[in-house]
């Protein structure tokens, strides 16, 4: 299990013990974190699982692939340098402690 923290649009922090191998989006939706719509089910096709990654760990995340970078053009909230689609972030021991601030709007 890997510890992740989500910050919901309301500001509430939710700490989660995440299953390795799942995506951050799946962890969040299966634990009821608010604000992630994930309309496409994690196929990198909707841009409604937008989060901002924060904390020291963010720098250690593998860089987004081309498909994610292209889909990030479609996010509804402001796109920032630390914008990521949470369905494309895989839970591994290396990302222990990652903070994901859920974007305030998804569509």
């Amino acid at each position: 299990m890997v510890k992740l923290t989500f910050i919901e649009p309301s500001g509430a922090e939710v700490a989660i013990e995440a299953q390795e191998g799942w995506s951050a989006m799946q962890v969040a939706t299966s634990k009821g974190v608010e604000g992630i719509d994930a309309e496409c089910g994690g196929s990198c096709a909707c841009a409604t699982c937008h989060c901002y990654v924060e904390g020291d760990v963010a720098a250690r995340l593998p860089a987004p692939l081309d498909g994610e970078l292209a889909m990030l053009d479609n996010v509804a909230a402001e796109r920032r340098p630390n914008s990521r689609l949470s369905c494309q972030i895989k839970v591994t021991p290396e990302i222990e402690g990652l903070i994901l601030r859920v974007a305030e709007v998804q569509s």
């Binding site: 992630i36 309309e39 089910g41």
Partner: protein, 387 residues
């Protein structure tokens, strides 16, 4: 002894008691009838969906696969090829790019619903949902009108399987061949006169500078038509059935159509029309004390994961207030359904228009005839009567 046979008519009609035993007693179950392992718990299915390197789609994803599809379509390739192919098509299916279709879809639904005015009893599938589905799909894919009824008939046959031989029968293969010939005709038409639509684009698309193989173009388009027509038609029936059976939910969505979106998600959880798909293992995997071998097929029973109380409390209760995020009604991860946005939009608009004309209804028969299919689940006939 416990048996789980996805070809049996009893499973077509009601798989849910068997799913419960699978989840509770046999979470990693070898089914000799299916010739594959069955995973039924929500968490195990999610884990498998993420690990496409181990749970490969390249040997086919339909429980009973059609000849030659493996390796040639979205549902039957693995990344990176899958992602490149999907990249070519995905754009056309994004929600924002479908908005121009909302009014045409509403017009189709309104026209069909108007024909039900004044009728006390009707055949929901024959009079409404199947006509609506093909006309919507023809609009989405830019197919020339004229062959709708045959396309619908063949798409529905293609996805069926024979409960006795547990394979595709000659009539199913013939339907598949008809659909390929139909797709080939459309491809030739679009190559002769490209019109900027999805099929024109796919017919001449390249990946890394190479033209797609002819087999890929043909079977990808054949599968798009099949997946679109059968899945949407099947789900429209399941949704109407749920609303017919649950008066409180029906009255709520008729009074406030904005609630349809939540009801659709709950029906996708409660009884998705796409019940089971398969993967093939690329290495040995040990799960719940069983060792599955490289080369074995594994069924991901989405319909069972959606009733797993480890994820969804009171899973057998139909509750449109539930907001069941993370449901597996469209699968998930890399191979999650391409058509999620068009399916949600078409179902919502279709029911809004139907409800204007027929706001209150019940089903006529208690026992419904169910389609024989190892992958999909929906009744083949649903008569409704005004309540």
């Amino acid at each position: 002894m416990f048996v789980f046979d996805p070809y049996s008519p009893a499973i077509d009609a009601d798989p849910f008691p068997a799913y419960r035993r699978l989840r509770d007693e046999f979470p990693c179950f070898w089914s000799p009838e299916a010739g594959m392992w069955v995973l039924s718990r929500h968490a195990d299915i999610v884990t498998a969906l993420n690990d496409w390197q181990t749970y490969s789609s390249a040997k086919g994803n339909l429980m009973t696969e059609l000849p030659n599809r493996a390796g040639a379509t979205l549902g039957t390739t693995d990344p990176p090829r899958h992602d490149r192919l999907r990249g070519l098509i995905q754009h056309a299916f994004m929600k924002r790019n479908l908005e121009t279709l909302a009014e045409p879809i509403r017009a189709i639904a309104a026209e069909l619903a108007a024909e039900l005015a004044g009728r006390d009893r009707f055949d929901y599938i024959g009079d409404f949902s199947s006509k609506f589905t093909v006309r919507v799909l023809f609009a989405v894919l830019g197919l020339p009108m004229g062959d709708e009824a045959t396309v619908r008939e063949k798409a529905v046959l293609m996805v069926q399987s024979d409960p006795v031989t547990r394979t595709k029968g000659p009539e199913h293969i013939a339907a598949y061949e008809w659909m390929q010939a139909y797709a080939a005709r459309i491809i030739a038409l679009r190559r002769a006169e490209p019109c900027g639509d999805l099929i024109s684009l796919l017919s001449s698309a390249e990946i890394d500078g190479d033209r797609l193989e002819e087999r890929e173009v043909l079977l990808t388009i054949t599968t798009l038509i099949m997946a679109g027509v059968e899945s949407l038609a099947g789900f429209l029936v399941m949704f109407a059935l749920n609303l017919a059976d649950h008066a409180e939910a029906r009255r709520a969505v008729v009074a406030d159509p904005a609630l349809l979106a939540d009801a659709i998600e709950e029906s996708l959880r409660y009884n998705t029309s796409a019940q089971r798909f398969r993967r093939c293992l690329t290495r040995d995997v040990t799960l719940h004390g069983e060792t599955m071998k490289a080369g074995d097929f594994v069924c991901l029973a989405y319909g069972a994961g959606n009733r797993d109380e480890r994820q969804f409390p009171n899973p057998d209760v139909y509750d449109i207030g539930r907001k069941p995020r993370g449901h597996l009604g469209f699968g998930g991860s890399v191979h999650a359904c391409l058509g999620t946005a068009i399916a949600r939009m078409a179902v919502r608009i279709g029911m809004e228009e139907l409800h204007r004309v027929v706001p209150d209804y019940a089903r006529v028969e208690t026992d419904l005839p169910w389609m024989p299919s190892s992958t999909f689940r929906s009744p083949t006939r649903l008569d409704l009567v005004r309540a």
